[in-house]
Amino acid sequence: MLQFLAAAHKEILLLRRDRIGLLVLFLMPALLVLVITLVQNHATRTIGESSTDILFIDYDNGGIGDRLARALSKAEGVSLTRTLDQNPDQASDQAPGSRKPARKRALRAVARGDFQLCLIIPKGMSDNVRQTARDSALEAFSMTAEDESAASPAADLELYFDPTLLPSFRSTVKNLLQLMIVGIEVEEKAAALSELLPRKIRDALAEASGPMAPMLSSMPEPDIEIKWNPRPIMSFREISALETPLEKTPNAVQQNVPAWALFGVFFIALPMAGSFVKERIYGLQYRMLSMPVMYPTIAGGKVFAFMLVCVVQFAVILCIGKWLLPLLGAPSFDMGAAAPWTAIVVALSAILAATGYGILLGTAVRTYEQASMFGPISIVIASALGGIMVPVWAMPRLLQKISVFSPLCWAQNAFLDIFVRGGDIRSVSGDITRLLIFAVACIAIAWRVHHRRAGRGARLN
């Protein structure tokens, strides 16, 4: 035990003095989680996965604008702003028509990215819509429009998008607006029809009654009131595929915080491998092999020190997700409903896998240069395959099949199970087992390599 602690203490001293190494171990994953999360958080805004900010300007004031505004406000994730001077939350309560931003100023705000889109109801829109609906109803009864020269073409709403928005998001917004327009169109046409129907009935009766027609035409139009029930005739229900629906929505924070924490943890393999290689090159291992202590005890002390670093590193990244990211405008990291020890078990398994890989790397390579070249490349590839940079489901099918061989994939999957899918220890036990088997396999291979090389018969005990 004394020797184990001596080795761990020595390794901690060395790590504390390796400022560059510490920067790589702590600053790199911290910066990565900050930058990537904030970037992806913004990206999800641009593709509409987060709140959609709409600047709404009603130059018409004829009622159509209000109906559209009400419908948009009811839509999920839409935040409506009517002025540029106020907080959007407050602005939604403001009476339409007051303090309308000038068109140019509004468009500049959209171009700057302050709003994802601007919807303008042009002046005369409501009159135009009603007239068009009336004309349409007249045509439906094969009656000509009362004044054909006055029949106007379909009224256009003006829609301005932030130029950086992705086509898929634009399409989603356009479909939403189209649905609302169809609703308004149906209402207006029904109103026009209600207005026209009594006249049509009277005229039809007059035409059918022959000599009685003059008498019928002098009769008042029948009082027919059509009341449309607003109840939809068709709808759909969204049902969660999980027995217990998710309490929160997966987002950039829930994906990136565990992902980059794992990336940092696995990067420990690099300094660890370097440490093993240096001890071999400097003859320190040779010296230690002549001492009355089993080499695995010394190596164990070293691994323990690196594991401590991993634990601190992991905690730092979680703290960044929990407290720093919200200060920068991203959602706070949510640890999920599972017992905290479940996440701790997964983290420790991942740390064991990472340190196991570090032992293997440090044993298999012959020089520090080999370790510093092969180590980062292998970890970055395993990370990319493991869904650290891009979620596995977003990868091509072939890569998805390969990703199941990445330890980072197992660890990330387990964390997503806990933090997003509401999983527990049973649901992540498979991934934990795979991580532990990986760690044991790495150490076993390292043992074999060490025996074959140093050995050509050298001892480890």
């Binding site: 004394l2 020797q3 001596a6 080795a7 203490h9 020595k10 001293l13 060395l14 003095r17 390796d18 400097y282 003859g283 320190l284 040779y286 010296r287 230690m288 092999l289 002549s290 001492m291 009355p292 202590v293 010394i298 050509r456 018969g457 050298a458 001892r459």
Partner: protein, 252 residues
Amino acid sequence: MESFKKTALCAENLTKQYRGISPPAVDGLDLSIFEGEIFGLLGPNGAGKTTTISMLGTILPPDSGTITICGIDTRRRPREVRRLIGLVPQDIALYPELTARENLSFFARLHGLRGEWLKEGIRKALSAAGLSTRAHQKVSTFSGGMKRRLNLAAGMVHSPRFLFLDEPTVGIDAQSRELILGKLQEIRQSGATMLYTTHYMEEAETLCDRVAIMDRGKILVHGAPRKLLASHPGCRNLGELFLELTGKELRD
């Protein structure tokens, strides 16, 4: 007279052949070292000195042969042997980013020292290496001579009964060499036994009680330097004897 001395190390028919290399690195080597003596193992590069020290120091298992140190079989009870031995490798086997004291403390604790024994061992080792005033300085800031002296101190911090020294004075200035050789004499006077390899023949001639000249894995001659020179009248010193026995061709 030698037969009355107690044997500290006895190696018989020691053989080691590395995989893929045809001549054995060590080929049927027999060696006896008596308690309290400094035994010089001399030989050109590739003669098998380091392989021999590695086998004697329990680091490398021999393909065949037996080794006993202080009466203990190194293959059967290696951990007991390791408690008795110290090793000063040819490389500067120290952590450059640790201080002299931290390096010594680490190696001493691996040898099981703790408490007052640990403090005393470190103090003595630092003093022996002439580094007491530099104890808190990082090894990376040391000169070559200071590193060599600390390398020696790390091998003797636990006061071993048998010390293996693989070229401990290579590449250092005369002052550091003088200090190291003086310390080795002191260690001998304290009763420890040493196996010493070097390329400096005059050093071996003055320091060692007995020497063995080996080449191609075999010991060619062994004995006290004076006796060896007496048996080779054409050789004025150990250097000339060495060249006569091992030849003048380059060994790379």
